[in-house]
Symmetry: C3
Subunit: 268 residues, 3 copies
């Protein structure tokens, strides 16, 4: 069965199982992440206090850790929740937002990578290069790194960490220990909405809640976000702009069907 | 005068008085809650630090306490603000998001119910059953409980706590010490947007800011949310989805008129 | 060159330089502020922990401090970041949300004004009067103060603090040490969306990231927000309301051109 066929089936699995996706995430894009999970058919829960994260995981099908806004309180919760998820066999997805921009982010990512086994790590090229220990220029949370050699970088990091590694950009790359693929869906307007990276990570978490094939889950989340971006752009009229694009994006996620994915998905 | 006539008049009262609705709420849906209050004609204020919650209440017409994301700092603020509101005669509305899902949520709700008199408590069936001490299965913050016996459960809890109790679901139930009503407005797409429960609670708070009849305030908030959901759905075209639905929902709240409410409200 | 010509050129400068605008802001409107900066062509970053704010400033072209939701942790970060920005020559913009409503807000604003030099301070009439030490009635975070004598108040405060002072309302006023101007763009629906004040401040921060003329940056941010509000309102059809207005607002910001600004801007 083709990859597109396989991820098409995951759409139905999410709507059937309605996986609970526990997030410890930033306060900037948290609402959009929750609505993404719902639009796809999952059930989001955001809980970040140390006193409840382990208990909440008892019901969860996946845990998303996003370091977009950090503080001492939530860092502790991330570590504790990540370890507990590992014990329970709940897949953990990492979005290392802005890693490298500050020591706090870099050290937090390092501690998380040391203490927690991640099923998938998704970042932009700057973030993934930083995690891979490569030389990279950082400016805030938006990537300014060259996208050359993405496949090699993703593969090497996947092997080093034993996680699926996804790099999103003009072309997206997903690598596991023994596979790699490129996804060519997407539209550059996606970069003009804050948190589309975070939202992709939340979609990966949603799919990781219904399959143990995390390589497939990562491809599903990224392909569906990119394709929805394309469709959102196509519906824009001349007098519309980024506000309507974002609304359309959520429309397209909620309407995404196996048929659309099979006919428009560009995974190789 | 019919209930629909009475709640129709409250719409004008809100626009005339512009009640300040103080929220101590979660960071997931806080923006939508603020925009809901504004769309209805009220004035929202979100302030959660212990150092300012009592002072902010001096101007407030209602206080909404929503436990969607808890931490030690905000729990203290909730208790202190709730007690102060009781002293000042400011009605307090509770949204016990995800109570039962974790000990932190359950214990926080228990402390709040012990220390604060609530004018209205609004939750989904899982949450209300949990507060009523009934046996219930919990999974995250979305309800999976059976909606049978809602009227009996709401009435018993209203009597036990001396609060108006509202259960929202396929059919909504509102009970006071001596009255009960069912509301049949709504659309299932409302469950696919995060925070429509929170937003209903914020609308109840807005109406509780202009009437001492909190039973009526609860009916008003819930009916208007449900009816706006219906109207939002009716305007959807075939190529639209959940993003446009949410936009339409805010449109309909802001346009809600006594006429629409009288002709389309389903309160019995 | 006219003021409108000058601010028209800033639009291109923002898209060319993509200034990083560091925010320490409230959790209510943070997502909209980030999306505003992106829609205009800047790059937003939200980081509020004391452990990283100074380091993040190393890349920043401007710092926006918004006191919409305060707590002890973020107050320290605001003071430290503001001082560091002063050292680095990064312009700091203050949005004193709800100052006067509580002692915490009033004292925090006072400390910030004592410890940090602000390039621009933007508030509604209640907030600016409060900062100017004038007698003013406060209710929550929405202004209820008279808009009389705005020019005198703004000029006096600009001289006293050595900052550009902007008062937004039915007519907006911007004053520097030696200049003052009035902006007549805008639509009253802007007041029905939470955070349009915060978003204006974020736009000012974005423009302050590409020019050292902070008087001009303030005029640019406020004029573009007001004009986008007008255009957003003009596109509304009869069956639409505040939800669509907000979407249109982001559309218009992202589409704003020098031509539109030159033909429709009302700056005198």
């Amino acid at each position: 069965m083709s990859v597109l066929n396989e991820i098409s089936q995951l759409i139905g699995d999410v709507k059937g199982k309605k996986p609970l996706v526990h997030h410890i995430t930033n306060y900037v894009t948290v609402n959009d992440c929750a609505n993404m999970v719902l639009a796809m058919g999952g059930s989001p829960v955001m809980a970040d206090d140390l006193a409840e994260v382990e208990e909440m995981l008892a019901f969860a099908s996946a845990l998303v850790i996003n370091i977009g806004t950090l503080n001492e309180r939530t860092i502790q919760s991330m570590i504790t929740a990540g370890k507990k998820a590992n014990q329970l066999g709940v897949p953990v997805i990492l979005d290392p937002v802005g890693v490298g921009a500050t020591t706090l982010r870099t050290e937090t990512a390092a501690i998380l990578l040391k203490e927690v086994r991640f099923a998938v790590i998704r970042g932009n090229m700057s973030e993934i290069k930083m995690i891979a220990g490569l030389n990279v220029q950082i400016k805030g949370v938006d990537s300014i790194a060259s996208e050359e050699n993405g496949i090699e970088i993703a593969k090497a990091l996947a092997v080093k960490l034993g996680s699926v590694v996804a790099i999103t950009g003009a072309v997206d790359i997903v690598a596991s220990l023994d596979h790699v693929c490129k996804i060519s869906n997407g539209d550059k307007m996606l970069a003009d909405v804050t948190g589309t990276g975070c939202m992709s990570t939340s979609l990966i978490g949603t799919f990781a809640g219904v399959t143990k094939d995390y390589f497939l889950a990562a491809i599903a989340g990224i392909t569906i976000m990119g394709l929805s971006g394309e469709l959102a752009k196509e519906r824009l009229t001349k007098d519309q702009g980024i506000g309507t694009f974002k609304v359309n994006l959520f429309d397209e996620i909620s309407k995404m069907s196996a048929e659309t994915l099979l006919s428009r998905g560009k995974v190789e």
